[in-house]
């Protein structure tokens, strides 16, 4: 079947099998390997991307379901001005080690701060509870997201 999907602002038309998973469309067809695959069961969240501005686990979304919709991946996070603040904060607060969960964590972090610019530690932990990290014990991921919130708040205050 033919689908048209907009990924990080660019429109792609592809002939795909109806069973093709969105994560495989992104990785194998479009070469966007920043989105990772870690389980098959929506537990690990390494494959988290946005579909129409909502985080989804792309290992359990069919590519066909993304037809006519907007997908945003980690490759679409940095803008012309450089890294998104959540990316910067993950570096500054050592929010990643092996980096495999990081793209998914970043997409959820960006979504959280867009909807709750000043989350508590508890709210941050709840927001990423559907995503696994085996390296960091989550501590510095939480710290990174809080750091991004504070930095963005300061920037808004200065503006």
């Amino acid at each position: 079947m033919q689908i048209t999907v907009t990924v990080n602002g660019a429109e792609h038309v592809r002939e795909v099998e109806p069973r093709l998973l969105l994560v495989h469309l992104l990785r194998d067809e479009l070469g966007l390997t920043g989105t990772h695959w870690g389980c098959d069961t929506s537990n690990c969240g390494a494959c988290t991307v946005w579909m129409d501005e909502v985080p989804v686990k792309s290992c359990t979304v069919l590519a066909a379901m993304a037809g006519g919709r907007r997908v945003r991946t980690v490759e679409g996070l940095a803008g012309p001005a450089g890294l998104d603040q959540v990316q910067r904060s993950f570096i500054d607060c050592h929010g990643l080690q092996c980096g495999f969960c990081t793209p998914g964590m970043l997409m959820t972090a960006r979504w959280l701060l867009d909807h709750n610019p000043d989350p508590t530690e508890h709210e941050v932990r709840e927001a990423i509870a559907g995503q696994l990290c085996r390296c960091t014990g989550y501590q510095n991921i939480v710290a990174s997201i809080r750091h991004a919130a504070v930095t963005e708040a300061a920037r808004r205050g200065a503006a």
Binding site: T33, G34, H36, C39, C98, G99, F100, C101, T136
Partner: protein, 797 residues
């Protein structure tokens, strides 16, 4: 002259908090993990696995699969046997099936391999393969593996009539028995450390490319030990080792899971040989959990002898080790039970003895892994649980009991009763720092008040405090006694300083998230007095790096890190000779000022490393016998292991109605010697503490009577998330290793090793129960409170 890439005003740096070089690509999604590798014409592999734990194979019919339009090759055990490749060596002097020939020995074992044009077609074709199985009774319960009436798992080995693999012992049995016979008090306990799995977020995978013209094999693989893998591939395939290149790109976590080689890797290699095209194989999560290296599975019986006042005198331990269907543990060869011999822990004992028996069962092989430093996790759990059992039996405070029995600094270097020489440590101070950080006395007061309130109202959460004091033994190891698959555990390093003063370091170990690109640059920077930004690291490519054993057992900094420091010191000494020629003075007239050789008594006369590097590559006349350029190589053979230690205190709240455990606080004080990058050290500790919470409360690979794997997905094998983990509170003490060039001891596994006992001790302290086995799920806690804890490794009947 201004040299590009060097800022002459930059302050020379070395150790200290420094942001990671790796991160700029990883936060952009620009890492390159194995499954990201795409080669022209690349095909995809998929493995057909056994649905049964134990069955004889009568036939494998691949004809329908072969006629699938997108299938390019189908591999079976019979086909591999024709090439002498149906079996591969394990890391423990055993063999393991690549693809089953005679029978399958665990659920999930590899039976056939399909090579097809895409991932989906390869999977489709698996369902077209017909296997005729004859079911056999499986050996599931390790405690029955040596009974006379059970099936023999390894009946293909000539003369084998039982499932016994090895008996191993250490310590002085007679002296220990005498201590126990005379002891005022003996506490005994059966402890199960259940089978768990490292479960790195990236599963195992490979892209194998066998060039049909040159006969050269290149593999991009998830490997923690590229050089060891190259040799194993040479052994199995018959290809000469110099025609094999192993490349480890970015690795999405290892934790021991990626130390050995797996059948899927070899099948992809054979698939590439057969088709002439590159073949990618990436296992799915169920395959990872069912078939790759598990950890633990130790059934332990501990005995601890003491005076009634709480002076610990001896430990006696019997262990039954479930190794699965093939003996594939990645321990140094002479240590079939790994470093379990450090089970005497951090205490001054009169005597100790242990005996470990390994058995085959119808479960997946392995037993390497999960950040375990070669079975030290089991040893620490044993001793730290036994100390708490003793405290329970004698009604003593577990902190005071530990403090009274810890080794003291004056005893170091300390030769343990089982023959290990602990290098350094200040145990009482480390425990004191942890108790202080936790506010131990206040916690006990709170606990007493809550208990009193609960006794009156019958309501309220139960609170518990658990302590664990661990001694690790890492940095394997001295070549004289330690090898893996015959390869001595020394590591090479090569350092080259370019004419403009920047440098490239090549090491044999391989990061899986530990941040080597940053830390190793800091080691060289500290030794040469240049910026870490000016030191590049090459790792994970056997064509580009010197030989060494890889990254596991917390050995990167203790062994390869030492090699990096030593090779930098060689370069620094060479620089001295060059500087002497430049300044026209004797080398002995020069002194080192970080980053610069200068004339004693005239600091204005000197040369920086960058200036010396340029001169070393120039037409400067050097003394006879001194080669030009500025580079060196070395091989570091550790004289001893390093012995990090730590004191961990966990505080939990338990809901008595449901048995649900909340980890309220976790205090961790680690002594890993000198910290190169404290930020990275603390990150490693955080990760290990989460591991400990997971193993203590959630993680379990159980099996039913038929040998069905009951933890084969993340729906069933539960890993800790952000809401199960508290905000960790860290502290430190620093006693440098006296024999390590920079005094560092390694830290990667300390928290995984030390934390499970602290969590279990806390939960049992909360509910007032002497012992219950991990994982302390709500059901297990609730049943323990009723006096009926479960045996967790078998299915609930």
């Amino acid at each position: 002259m201004t040299v590009p890439g060097l800022d002459p005003t930059a302050t020379p740096t070395g150790y200290g908090r420094m942001l990671r070089k790796e991160d700029v690509r990883l936060v952009r999604g620009r890492g390159t993990y194995v499954d990201d590798v795409v080669l022209p014409g690349m095909l995809h592999g998929a493995v057909l696995r056994s649905p049964y734990a134990h069955a004889r194979i009568h036939s494998v019919d691949t004809s329908a699969a072969e006629s699938h339009p997108k299938v390019r090759a189908v591999l079976t055990g019979e086909m591999l046997a024709g090439r002498g490749m149906a079996w591969m060596p394990t890391l423990s002097h055993d063999v393991a099936a690549v693809l089953a020939t005679d029978k399958v020995r665990y659920q999930g074992q590899e039976v056939a391999f399909v090579v097809a044009e895409d991932r989906y077609a390869a999977r489709d074709a698996l369902s077209l393969i017909e296997v005729d199985y004859e079911l056999l009774a499986p050996v599931v319960d390790a405690r029955r593996a040596l009974a006379p009436d059970v099936p023999v798992v390894r009946d293909e080995i000539d003369g084998r009539v039982d499932n016994h693999i090895f008996d191993w012992e250490c310590g002085d049995e007679a002296a220990t028995d005498a201590v126990f016979a005379a002891a005022e008090h003996v506490s005994r306990c059966d402890l199960l450390y259940p089978r768990v799995h490292p479960a790195p977020l990236e599963t195992c995978g490979i892209v194998a490319e066998c060039d049909p013209i040159t006969g050269r094999l290149t593999v991009h693989a998830t490997t923690q030990a590229p050089h060891a893998h190259r040799m194993l591939y040479a052994m199995v395939t018959g290809l000469p080792e110099h025609k094999i290149r192993v490349v480890a790109p970015d690795i999405g976590g290892g934790f021991g899971n990626k130390v050995g080689i797996y059948p899927g890797y070899l099948c992809a290699i054979v698939g590439s040989m057969l088709t002439g095209a590159p073949v990618k194989w990436t296992e799915d999560r169920s395959e990872n959990l069912m078939s790759t290296s598990f950890a633990r599975d130790y059934h332990m019986h501990g005995e601890i002898a003491a005076t009634k006042g709480g002076t610990i005198l001896g430990l006696r331990v019997r262990v039954l080790a479930d190794h699965g269907a093939f003996n594939g543990t990645a321990q140094p060869s002479k240590f079939p039970a790994g470093f379990f011999g450090v089970f005497t822990g951090s205490y001054d004992l009169a005597a100790a003895h242990c005996r470990v028996t390994g058995v085959y069962t119808n479960k997946a092989p392995g037993g390497v892994a999960y950040a375990c430093s070669f079975r030290i996790t089991e040893a620490v759990y044993l001793v730290e649980r036994m100390v708490d059992v003793l405290a329970y039996d004698l009604d003593l405070d577990p902190a005071q009991l530990r403090m009274a029995n810890l080794l003291v600094p004056e005893q170091f270097p300390y030769l343990s009763r089982t023959g290990w020489e602990y290098d350094s440590g200040d145990y009482p101070r480390t425990l004191a720092v942890a108790l202080d950080l936790a506010g131990y006395a206040e916690l006990r007061r709170e606990q007493a008040a809550r208990r009193e309130a609960s006794a009156q109202t019958g309501r309220g959460e139960l609170m518990g405090v658990g302590i664990s004091f661990f001694t690790e033994a890492v940095g394997a190891g001295p070549r004289r006694t330690m090898d893996i698959a015959g390869l001595g555990m020394a590591d090479g390093a090569e350092l080259r300083v370019h004419p403009s003063g920047t440098a490239v370091l090549r090491v044999s170990c391989m990061s899986q998230g530990q941040g080597h690109e940053t830390t190793f640059a800091q080691i060289v920077a500290e030794e040469l007095g240049i910026s870490p930004d000016d030191v590049a690291l090459v790792q994970g490519d056997t064509d580009q790096t010197p030989f060494g054993l890889g990254t596991y057992g917390s050995r990167s900094i203790p062994v390869s890190g030492a090699a990096a420091a030593m090779v930098a010191r060689k370069v620094r000494e060479r620089a001295r000779i060059v500087a002497a020629a430049m300044l026209e003075v004797a080398a002995t007239d020069l002194e080192w000022a970080k980053g610069r050789w200068q004339v004693v008594g005239d600091p204005s006369a000197g040369a920086s490393i960058a200036e010396i590097a340029m001169a070393a590559h120039s037409d400067l006349e050097l003394p006879d016998g001194v080669e030009g350029h500025l580079d060196a190589t070395c091989v570091y053979n550790p004289p001893n292991l390093t012995f990090p230690c730590g004191a961990y205190i966990c505080v939990v709240d338990v809901d008595p109605g449901t048995g649900h455990v909340s980890v309220r606080r976790f205090v961790a004080v680690d002594d890993c010697g000198v910290r190169i990058n404290p930020m990275i050290v603390e990150g490693q500790v955080h990760g290990g503490l989460a591991d400990g919470i997971g193993m203590a409360l959630m993680e379990l690979m159980a099996f039913d009577d038929d040998g069905n794997h009951l933890g084969a997905s993340f729906m069933d094998y539960l890993l800790p998330t952000s809401v199960e983990c508290p905000s960790f509170e860290l502290g430190e003490t620093v006693t440098p290793s006296p024999h390590h060039p920079i005094g560092a001891k390694g830290v990667g596994e300390s928290a995984t090793v030390g934390s499970p006992a602290a969590v279990v001790n806390a939960v049992l302290d909360a509910i007032g129960v002497r012992h219950a086995d991990m994982p302390l799920t709500p059901a297990q806690v609730w049943r323990a409170m009723q006096g009926r804890p479960l045996r967790s490794d078998l299915a609930i009947r």
